[in-house]
Assembly symmetry: C2
Homo-oligomer: 165 residues x 2
DNA sequence: GGGGATATAGTTCGGGTCGAACTATACAGA
DNA sequence: TCTGTATAGTTCGACCCGAACTATATCCCC
């Protein structure tokens, strides 16, 4: 079975959380990975099942109540994740941006830029908040990725300002 | 049938080209929309068929040789595209970035940043080239989206420099 | 003008992804 | 106990995607 980047995102989150249910993963990603690797929440129900089948996660289901499934890394999962993290290969980034697409096709960017600016500012505040207050912000990788994220939003704000006003 | 953002990207490209085969679309996107709305080339075989079925494109197939299919906008297609372009709604942008994901999970960004920097610089040169020389660069929307794209790559270079060195 | 190399063009396939819609459970406060 | 709200979990089918492959056209050297 093939491990995609999204698979590693899931393995990485399980690693950070120690043990996690799909819902835990959903909540955790919203405050982190979502910002640079979007994953729809339904993936957290399907993908861990796949990963468990492949031997990368072990699965334990609650007996009663919500019958939640709890996942932890297996040795194979830990190794696969570590190998991926250690390899210096990284595909080029992809930007998906409707504002740019509409602008390209003749839409008026001025009509969209106010909302976009507000969005970037909110993101900026959010990431800054994590940097100041988040449990994981002590982790050097987390910290660095937050800093790059902050720089990205700042940069985009500057570009929009310059180009559209 | 549902029109996705990718549908509008296809309609927009057909509009720009006047008439287009899937292969024309593939080549055209590589120099434009790909930069802010990635679409795999197989989509250009499937999606126009869907759009033709929905009445947004008309389809004409060559009799002999490669039996290429040529697409043009119908009136309905032109109207749907115009309405979408005119509406000021734009979903927030999404960034997909393996370097950031790996960094977040503890990977060493320094090991990846040289390649990334080179990539951004190549992109920068490419977009700058379009701005200087491309047939469509006269179009104000095209020009503006190129300028924003250039700003994005410049910004990312600056961020990487600052954060990772 | 034969023939191989290269570029162009097109398609198939199966697994992965996606979001909308829905259902179910927990729990706090009236 | 009831009810509203937040939390939690799932299903479904359409869509998307990339790898691999096949086919056609063109170039260019002999």
């Amino acid at each position: 079975m093939r491990l995609t980047t999204t698979s590693y995102a899931v393995l990485g989150l399980v690693d950070l959380l120690g043990e996690a249910t799909p819902y835990d993963l959903k909540r955790a990603i919203e405050q982190s990975i979502e910002n640079f690797w979007p994953v729809p929440h339904t993936t957290f129900y399907a993908e861990p099942t796949r990963l468990a089948k492949g031997g990368y996660l072990s699965e334990r289901q609650e007996e009663g109540g919500r019958r939640r499934k709890h996942y932890t890394l297996t040795q194979a999962g830990r190794e696969a994740l570590a190998a991926w993290v250690a390899s210096p290969a990284a595909a080029p980034p992809e930007l998906h941006d409707e504002l740019l697409l509409k602008t390209f096709l003749g839409g008026d960017p001025a009509a969209m830029v106010a909302e976009r600016r507000a969005w970037h500012e909110a993101k900026l505040a959010e990431l800054q908040g994590y940097l100041d207050r988040h449990v994981l912000a002590g982790d050097p990788g987390v910290k660095r990725s937050l800093e790059i994220g902050i720089g990205y939003h700042r940069g985009m704000l500057a570009v929009l300002e310059e180009t559209i006003g």
